[in-house]
């Protein structure tokens, strides 16, 4: 409850600060650390998968364990790595880009993070409690319903809890962007990253409820004897597929749109040019989101929906290529005539174009319903979505992190190491996945524990594994880079890249209240406007006054913890009996109790007084 804490604090104090923080910049760091951890975990799982597939008929890893590995690899990477890492960037950057002091719901923001973390931890507890989920990240029923043990229960409940968190995060971002923009920051002046955050959040809002329902139905089937997906009792397993993909397809855009946003910023900054065709970029983003809702069934072409449905969804899917193409050309034309600086962040952006174009191309090929009868569920699909998700989202995250690292941590990542990471990762990535297109066409279905000898699949798989190792090395260099920067790095200048958007107008380190005075935005790329038409500093839109700040709270942590405990109770209700009911009772009591405290205890926040702000200004 105080203003900036100066000087060294004890370790415990720091931990407590992070456990209770509602500051979007600190929550961003929490998302980054947790997401990074899960990224490494998912990467480890991927390495084991590739090791198993290095040689034909390999006995290195057992079938069951292998299924758990790829299920958890997919689930972890999508829900626990890619999304949180993007949320880290959104949290860290978006409020600064629109000139806000905070997000609309700081408490909900923290709650969203803790729900995600406890959901993710719950999911990963399965490794130690009898086996991880083993029905694929898509968990198709009835395989997921009859899967023995508690693996799939961990999947259903873990994703449910972290899904609540994501939904809250999404609503928070939407409202923040609507109500908290600085004076002059009109919608059509918002940086593309903010726009894509906005649109992705709207997608979250409408996509996640379908997953919520799907997971509830799966949980009911598994734990409470319901019959949604049990054919003998009148259930219908296709419902799961629809619900999952009604969520699952927009999810892809939830991941890729923010990455598009990152690249738009990076291209513009390092080409020293404003984004080419800004309004068509915004339009394309919205159009992709809109179309993204009407194409989910292209994941289900071989389910047997009939030629009419297949054709409709095929054409709708192809239509998405148009706005995506618009974006690609706009990025190219942004660089055209610019003054391109090949920093590490820019390398990711530049290499993204051919990579993602390939992914988009195979996307259109997959959209062609009849042809998809061959591609579907083969390694061709595996190659395609890794081109999109690694080539788009992971490159976006890595590029974005390199770009905004000085803003988040006040230090610059080592460029030389960064370039090593990039080249190894880039080469490894293409080695791993390009060949997989052909493996798929040569008849290798996905999720294969073993491929047999004499089918011509040996060389391709070996190359793929070698590539995976390069990516692993790249990741280690990245880790080393982060550590060495944190320990030895020097404080970076406030605006190291000659930035164009509002976030670079802030001093380093960013004050916890962000903007002492809200800035007046006079155009697109507000800082650039001031650099070329003003004195390079933002003009304040208000006189210096008290700043209202939210209070820290431990309740987000306890609310999530309660659900985490209760989830165990629900899972072990049948086998453990009484203790499980105790867990349910205690868990729900903690959660509901915390919610009750939240609603009866007034949380009015506090003010930083004008005088203190003036003093700080003098101390700078």
């Amino acid at each position: 409850m105080s203003t900036a804490t100066v000087g060294k604090r004890s370790f415990g104090a720091v931990v407590w600060d992070y456990l209770t923080t509602v500051d979007h910049k600190k929550i961003a760091i929490l998302y980054l650390v947790a997401g990074g951890f899960f990224f490494l975990l998912g990467g480890l799982e991927a390495m084991l998968i590739r090791l198993q597939l290095m040689a034909p008929d390999s006995e290195l890893i057992g079938a069951q364990f292998y299924n758990e590995l790829f299920t958890m690899h997919g689930t972890t990477m999508i829900f626990l790595a890619a999304m949180p890492l993007l949320f880290a960037l959104m949290n860290a950057i978006m409020p600064l880009q629109i000139g806000a002091r905070d997000v609309a719901f700081p408490f909900i923001n923290a709650l969203g993070f803790w729900l995600f973390l406890f959901g993710g931890l719950l999911l990963n507890c399965s490794w130690f409690l009898g086996g991880a989920p083993d029905a694929g990240w898509t968990a198709y029923a009835p395989l997921s319903v009859i899967s023995p043990g508690h693996g799939v229960d961990f999947y259903a409940l873990g994703l449910q809890i972290s899904g609540f968190g994501t939904l809250m995060g999404g609503i928070n971002f939407i409202v923040t962007i609507i109500t908290m923009r600085a004076p002059g920051m009109t919608y059509m002046r918002m940086p593309l990253f903010t726009w894509s955050t906005f649109v992705a959040s709207i997608l979250i809002l409408f996509a996640f409820p379908a997953l919520t329902v799907g997971l509830f139905l799966l949980t009911f089937d598994r734990l409470f004897g319901a019959n949604f997906f049990v054919p003998d009792m009148g259930g219908n397993e296709i419902i799961w597929e629809h619900l999952f993909w009604i969520f699952g397809h927009p999810e892809v855009y939830i991941l890729i749109l923010p990455a598009f946003g990152v690249f738009s910023e990076v291209f513009s900054t390092f080409s020293k040019k404003r984004l080419f065709g800004y309004s068509s970029m915004v339009f394309a983003t919205v159009l992709i989101a809109f179309l993204g809702f009407m194409v989910w069934a292209h994941h289900m072409f071989t389910v047997g929906m009939g030629p009419i449905a297949n054709s409709i969804f095929a054409i709708a899917t192809m239509a998405i290529a148009v706005p995506t193409g618009i974006k690609i050309f706009n990025w190219l034309l942004t660089m055209w005539g610019g003054s391109i600086r090949m920093t590490t962040a820019m390398l990711y952006a530049v290499s993204f174009i051919p990579t993602f174009t390939l992914g988009g191309i195979t996307g259109v090929m997959l959209a062609s319903a009849a042809a998809d009868y061959q591609y579907h569920d083969s390694y061709f699909v595996v190659a395609h979505f890794h081109y999109v998700i690694v080539g788009g989202v992971v490159f976006g995250i890595l590029g974005g992190l390199t770009y905004w690292w000085p803003l988040m941590f006040g230090k610059m990542l080592n460029e030389k190491l960064g370039k090593w990471t990039f080249w190894l990762f880039f080469t490894g990535f293409h080695l791993t996945f390009f060949i997989q297109h052909f493996l798929g066409l040569m008849g290798m279905p996905r999720r294969y524990w073993k491929f047999l000898e004499g089918q011509g699949l040996e060389t391709g798989n070996l190359i793929s594994t070698v590539g995976a190792f390069l990516m692993a090395i790249a990741t280690f260099i990245l880790l080393y880079n982060v550590i060495i920067t944190t320990v030895k790095g020097k404080k970076s200048p406030a605006d190291p890249w000659d930035g164009r958007t509002l976030e670079w107008s802030l001093p380093n380190p960013t004050p916890f209240y962000n903007f002492k005075q809200l800035p007046l935005v006079r155009g697109l790329d507000p800082l650039w406007v001031e650099k070329t038409q003003g004195n390079g500093k933002m003009i304040p839109a208000e006189p210096l006054d008290d700043i209202h700040m939210p209070n820290n709270s431990f309740l987000p942590f306890t609310i999530s913890l309660g659900l985490f405990i209760a989830a165990f109770g629900f899972m072990y209700r049948v086998d453990a009996g009484f203790p499980a009911y105790v867990a349910i009772g205690v868990g729900l009591a903690i959660t509901l109790g915390s919610m009750l405290i939240r609603s009866v205890k007034d949380d009015l926040g506090y003010h930083i007084h004008k005088e203190d702000l003036e003093k700080e200004g003098a101390g700078e």
Binding site: I178, L205, A210, I238, H242, I246, F293, A297, M305, G306
Partner: protein
Amino acid sequence: MAKDTNSNHADQYYKAKKKEEMKHQVITFALMIVFTIIAFGLVIGEFDKLFVFPVLLVLAAVQVGFQFYYFMHMSHKGHEFPALMIYSGIFAAILTILALTTITWV
């Protein structure tokens, strides 16, 4: 954010407007009750399915419109985004229901 219009005159005007609005809401409520009775009546009267189903759905849609626009004030100023999101939600909802009732072999 809120403009302070504390003058008495404005207050009077504002009060009158709210009264007016309240009247609309009561009328809406009466209509909803009537619609509900019609809906139940149609079913009890055992009319033809092909006739009853569309009418029931239209009655329900109108009732929901009443709820949103009169009870929840969606027509008022400052509800542009709520309206946009509700309609987007309805759009996604219709797609979902259409899919689950047509291409799942029911």
